[in-house]
Symmetry: C2
Subunit: 230 residues, 2 copies
């Protein structure tokens, strides 16, 4: 039986590349996305296309309501900031941070991996060109992994050791894009924008668009996505 892995898949550039890494490493991939009331729900359609294109064995979309918790521009009426400089992005935690989001997402991945008998979870977090989110840092991921191995049946029985893989942790956005292209990721299927136009086009100015566009520039590649503001 092939080894199974649960792969968190937002529909964005990083998670698509992480899924491609899991496939490269020989895993049978179970992609997991979340409908959490995000204003950029178009990313879920992208996640479906990416999962299919990269040959995921199954793709689940979990409905989790984070809107009642509030506290983030991604799930409430708080405005998404645009055209911030690299210096502005480098300081503090932005309003697009969703409280404990990765912890909630990884917890669902943990539950599914336990039922699937999977020992491996892939997440596309990145500590270089990241947005200042605390739950993208390596020390956070390591700590989640330790907790996860105490949380489950198999952990207690000693029959498995869960690993949280972060294949992109130490790569720049440009390196991630070059890797993904090598692994056959079609970035035209992905979606990174926090605040897309009604027609689905990326805004071009939010932190996520700016990081993505800078990444393609530095990789010397053309971003296949159309943008509202070029």
């Amino acid at each position: 039986m092939p080894r199974r892995a649960v792969c968190l898949l937002s529909g964005g550039l990083d998670s698509a590349t992480a899924l491609a890494c899991a496939r490269r490493d020989g895993f049978e991939c179970y992609a997991l996305s979340f409908d959490y009331g995000q204003r950029h729900r178009v990313e879920l359609d992208c996640a479906r296309k990416v999962a299919a294109a990269l040959g995921a064995k199954d793709h689940a979309i979990a409905h989790v309501d984070l809107r009642w918790i509030g506290g983030s521009a991604l799930t409430s009426a708080i405005e998404v900031p645009k055209h911030r400089s690299a210096d502005e992005m480098g300081h503090g935690i932005p309003v697009t941070y969703v409280p404990a989001r990765n912890t909630i997402f990884l917890s669902y991945a943990l539950a599914w991996s336990e039922v699937l008998g999977a020992n491996d979870i892939f997440i596309g977090v990145n500590a270089v060109d990241y947005s200042g989110y605390p739950d993208c840092r390596p020390e956070y991921i390591e700590s989640f992994e330790r907790m996860a191995n105490l949380a489950t049946k198999a952990g207690v029985e000693g029959s498995m050791r869960l690993r949280v893989h972060t294949p992109l942790a130490h790569s720049s956005k440009a390196q991630i894009i070059r890797l993904g292209v090598e692994l056959g990721v079609d970035y035209g299927l992905t979606h990174s924008c926090y605040d897309p136009a009604p027609d689905g086009r990326a805004c071009g100015g939010c932190d996520s668009c700016l990081l993505r566009r800078k990444g393609f520039d530095e990789a010397g590649l053309a971003d296949p996505l159309p943008y509202v503001h070029l």
Copy 2:
């Protein structure tokens, strides 16, 4: 401003007592329950009554769908075992275990506490008369707490230190009941059964009923709940 605490509240005996402990300790309490497709949804009505009776400042019920994950008698068609002996209960992890449930629940509590500016989470886990669930053990809770302090804005900024309180961790069921009675918990409002009858009465035979009834017996108190099987 009073210190705020998020208190996980299932509607059962233990979580009601933990909420009473948070109130005793001077916290303004934000009760948090989950509608996760459990077969014993009657516990949510109990949670509402308990939260009101114990003066919670707010009570949120988060809708989280765990049924698609499967793997548990509480969220699927797997039968709930009845009338197991203490010896049977003492061995292995039962089919009523819901994969990663406490991790998912604590993750939501973490998200809400971050938005509320609360530094404290209360959970009624118990390592003495417990049901063999891995995510009720002290080492698991400590590990979640460590992870949580790396997961959040305030953790990174060093402006808060989150604590997960387990006031019942080292108490027997009888001790929990005596404590709750002292603190004014009305156990007639609580609900422990995994497999209640259509009229809401507790079955009397599932692990949770057996542990509860043994607790009242040992405490020398009468359980105010009606049971199908006495």
